[in-house]
């Protein structure tokens, strides 16, 4: 292959060290916030600003290098593989939270209510012999012992039904998977206007999803009394939907960047790795949502 005749090694760059410092500042600020340390807000704010500066700067550099034609076929393959493995690591991150959900539903709740008694442990008799397994656990094994320190859990009576907002959100995300694919076809057929239009539709669907999700949170907290402090149901509900919502937001921002780049005439029929990477990410977020819809909301 001709492109392999000379390897491409990028020149040194300030961005990796800037990225390290900004993540460090962000983490330092977060830790200080948790500890209520003086000046935590400033460090945290600085960290956020530094992160934004770094993302914008690093990606601008990479985009201009890509536009200048520095990246050969081999670099393109490296980027593709890198993105693929990054998505796998994200899958495993979500796996931890799904694992927690399945563990709670299949083991800890039944055990706390006495299943497998004697065979496994005597938790039920020794601790809370009146606790009965239900899912969603709106009655905690020990309702007065949140945070392990004698505070009350926040109780709730009903949960968000699957076939309300969540079903609409499922439709929105699935539809956005279709629109991003139509945009990809348009890119391959060199139809610039259609590309931008369908990307815009995808971004819009993404943000509508996030809006509905926020509405649902308001409803859950204000009307139903479901909070992260609502025992294992509230814990798994908010961590899973929260991290997913964060990923959708990130994905929608990334799609928006791709849309603006398309408007400026970036990407060609053959050379559009950034588009594909973001599309993969979007589909990943979509698949995670299907898992959420089924296991968090539906069954």
């Amino acid at each position: 292959m001709a492109s392999k005749d000379l390897y491409y090694v990028p020149h040194g760059s300030k961005w990796p060290i800037v990225a390290t410092l900004s993540v460090f500042t962000f983490f330092l600020g977060s830790a200080m916030l948790f500890n209520h340390s003086a000046g935590a807000n400033y460090v945290f704010g600085l960290g956020i600003l530094a992160l934004i500066y770094m993302f914008v700067g690093w990606f601008s550099d990479v985009i201009s290098e890509s536009r200048a034609g520095n990246y050969n076929k081999q670099v393109d393959v490296s980027f593709r593989m890198g993105m693929g493995w990054f998505i796998l690591s994200e899958v495993m991150f979500f796996a931890a939270f799904f694992g927690a959900l399945f563990y709670a539903r299949m083991y800890s709740i039944p055990w706390l209510s006495g299943e497998g008694n004697g065979g496994v442990n005597g938790t039920h008799e020794f601790l809370w012999s009146s606790f009965q397994a239900v899912w969603p656990t709106n009655v905690m094994p020990d309702p007065s012992n949140a945070l392990g320190g004698g505070q009350a859990f926040s109780q709730f009576t009903e949960v968000i039904p699957a076939f309300g907002i969540p079903a609409v959100n499922t439709a929105l995300l699935l539809l956005s998977g279709v629109t991003v694919t139509i945009a990809h076809w348009a890119l391959k057929e060199r139809k610039r206007k259609a590309l931008v239009f369908w990307l815009f539709a995808t971004v819009a669907l993404g943000f509508i999803f996030v809006f509905f999700q926020a509405e649902e949170y308001m409803h859950a907290i204000n009307d139903l009394g479901i909070t992260p402090n609502s025992g294992i149901y509230g814990s798994t509900f908010y961590l899973l939907t929260g991290f997913h919502g964060f990923h959708v937001t990130m994905g929608a921002i990334m799609l928006a960047v791709i849309m603006f780049r398309s408007l400026k005439g970036h990407f060609s029929k053959k050379d559009h790795f950034a588009f594909e990477a973001v599309a993969w990410y979007w589909h990943f977020v979509d698949v995670v949502w299907l898992g959420l819809f089924i296991f968090v909301y539906w069954i």
Partner: protein
């Protein structure tokens, strides 16, 4: 973007100078060097904590430190040695050697590579700063079990975020290695022609990418349990502290192989070189490595036998654990068969490698004992466990890293190290490490618990012997630093092929290796592809 074109021109071997060379680096050799120096530094930081532990345990009773500080030493020693010493040393070697071994110009994603490294000092700044905070450093053990770890003071969020930071670094490093190996091999370097060190590292990288995000998820749940009122690990709300142990060890057991597999790769390079014979059973070595990696995801609960698991679960995890002995045994027998009737010489790298095979096997056997459920009920959380994992991690992983440094120092520095001093370092290390850890088997079998600063008077003799071994081992490592610095500054000139029997592409480039190598794909001859 003038510098962009500069990187593409044909003026080879221009080295950036000054601080920029290190802070902005995209050079795998410079980044590898940074990793290795950092790892050695942290080896001494973590080591000095071990010295505090051994000083406290020199005699029964409380002598030097209070129990809280003792426990934070135990905790931080482990985190530093795992995430700060052994893993970075392995990644440093991977950085330096993989591109040279597969004929690539550099790592596939050089800027991400730089970030992977520079995260480390900052992450450890977060972690080590906790020792000076109100309530002291984290003292609940490196395994961070709730509810104990949730009692940590101001150190808690720093601990969690340091773990996140280290995880980000390792995941990026692992992705980089996978992409390099799959995308950057020179034409003709097929997968089954790759040196075993490359194979073990690519498989290790799979483990990293698949297991570290799970740890990140687990510690995130700890954080929300402490600060946001969630109940993941609180039975009162329907959660379970044992859930954390499952999540942690789903990461933790693959992590053990993340530390061990590169060691297997290193000795698989060194033993053939000094036995002057091809590696016995190359293909079986590759398959054995892959088998160990896959099995490592199905054995995690053998760390939790005494926590009250259902019997069926205990049996499953016991048998799965036993199964790992098969591919590991394949490896040990292959190393022995490689040496069989070889024209062996015993330079320092070979000595460390042979010691690795013997002492790692001892650690493997004690691991088998611990993997037997009913027997583990007696050994669990005793010094037998401490002895076991120090045999596999110190005389295992660390010895292989020492072997690797001696083996490749000529390639890095262009000088041969002082062989006589190297041999002294080897013998002192081997003897003192055994004086340090062998008695701990007896202590554990007799019932001495781990992570306690005081002990019954019956354990006094063995503890004193162990502490003496510990101090001697610690001092011996200063000799290692002296040998490395001496070699970097001068010594007998090293040839491109620094060892008579060494095989592989890395020996086809001059010693020291020039700043840039393989800028165009090398033409590989059949001889270059021999193992």
């Amino acid at each position: 973007m003038s510098t962009v074109t500069q990187a593409n021109d044909h003026d080879h071997d221009h080295k950036p100078t000054g601080l920029k060379r290190w802070f902005f680096s995209t050079n795998h050799k410079d980044i590898g060097t940074l990793y290795l120096i950092f790892a050695l530094t942290m080896f001494f930081v973590g080591g000095s904590m071990a010295m505090i532990i051994r000083a406290e345990l020199f005699q029964p009773g409380l002598q030097f430190v209070d129990p809280q500080f003792y426990n934070s030493m135990v905790t931080v020693h482990a985190l530093i040695m795992i995430f700060g010493a052994v893993m970075p040393a392995g990644v440093g070697l991977a950085n330096w050697m993989i591109p040279l071994m597969i004929g690539a110009p550099d790592m596939a994603l050089p800027r991400m590579n730089n970030m992977s490294f520079w995260i480390l000092p900052f992450a450890f700044a977060l972690l080590i700063s906790t020792l000076f905070m109100e309530g002291g450093g984290p003292a609940g053990g490196w395994t961070m079990y709730p509810p104990l770890v949730l009692q940590t003071g101001a150190a808690f969020p720093f601990l969690i975020l340091a773990i996140h930071f280290l995880g980000i670094s390792s995941i990026m490093g692992a992705i980089n290695i996978i992409v390099t190996v799959f995308n950057m091999r020179a034409p003709g370097m097929t997968l089954m022609k790759m040196p075993l060190f490359v194979w073990t590292w690519v498989i290790t990288s799979f483990l990293l990418v698949a297991s570290l995000p799970v740890l990140a998820g687990g510690v995130t749940m700890l954080l929300t349990d402490k600060y946001f009122g969630t109940s993941f690990f609180n039975a009162a709300g329907g959660g379970d502290p044992v859930l954390f142990q499952h999540i942690f060890w789903f990461f933790g057991h693959p992590e053990v192989y993340i530390l061990a597999l590169p060691a297997f790769g290193i000795v698989s390079q060194i033993i053939p070189a000094f036995a002057r014979k091809p590696l016995f059973g190359y293909a079986s070595m590759v398959y054995a490595t892959a088998s160990i990696a896959i099995l490592s995801f199905f054995v995690w609960a053998h760390h939790m036998f005494t926590v009250g698991l259902p019997v069926k679960g205990e049996l499953f995890f016991m048998y799965a654990t036993m199964l790992i002995a098969v591919p590991t045994g394949v490896k040990v027998f292959n190393w022995m068969a490689t040496m069989w009737k070889g024209a062996m010489t015993f330079e320092t790298p070979m000595l460390f490698s042979i010691a690795f095979v013997i002492l790692f096997t001892i650690g493997g056997f004690s691991g088998l004992m611990l993997g037997i459920t009913p027997v583990d009920f007696q050994y669990h959380d005793t010094y037998f466990v401490v002895a076991h994992f120090h045999y596999v991690l110190l005389t295992g992983a660390v010895f292989s890293l020492m072997a690797a440094v001696y083996y490749w120092l000529p390639k890095w520095t262009g000088h041969m190290y002082d062989e006589k001093l190297g041999k002294i370092h080897f013998w002192l290390s081997t003897i003192t490490a055994n004086v340090l850890f062998f008695p701990q088997h007896f202590l554990g079998l007799a019932g001495m618990p781990r992570r306690i600063p005081d002990y019954n008077i019956q354990f006094a003799d063995f503890n004193m012997i162990s502490s003496i071994g510990g101090f001697a081992y610690g001092l011996t490592q200063l000799l290692f630093v002296y040998i490395v610095i001496k070699c970097a500054l001068g010594g007998k000139k090293a040839k491109a092929l620094s060892w008579e029997g060494a095989k592989g592409l890395e020996w086809s480039v001059p010693s020291p290796a020039p700043h840039h190598t393989f800028e165009t794909p090398p033409r590989l001859t059949k001889a270059m592809l021999e193992h």
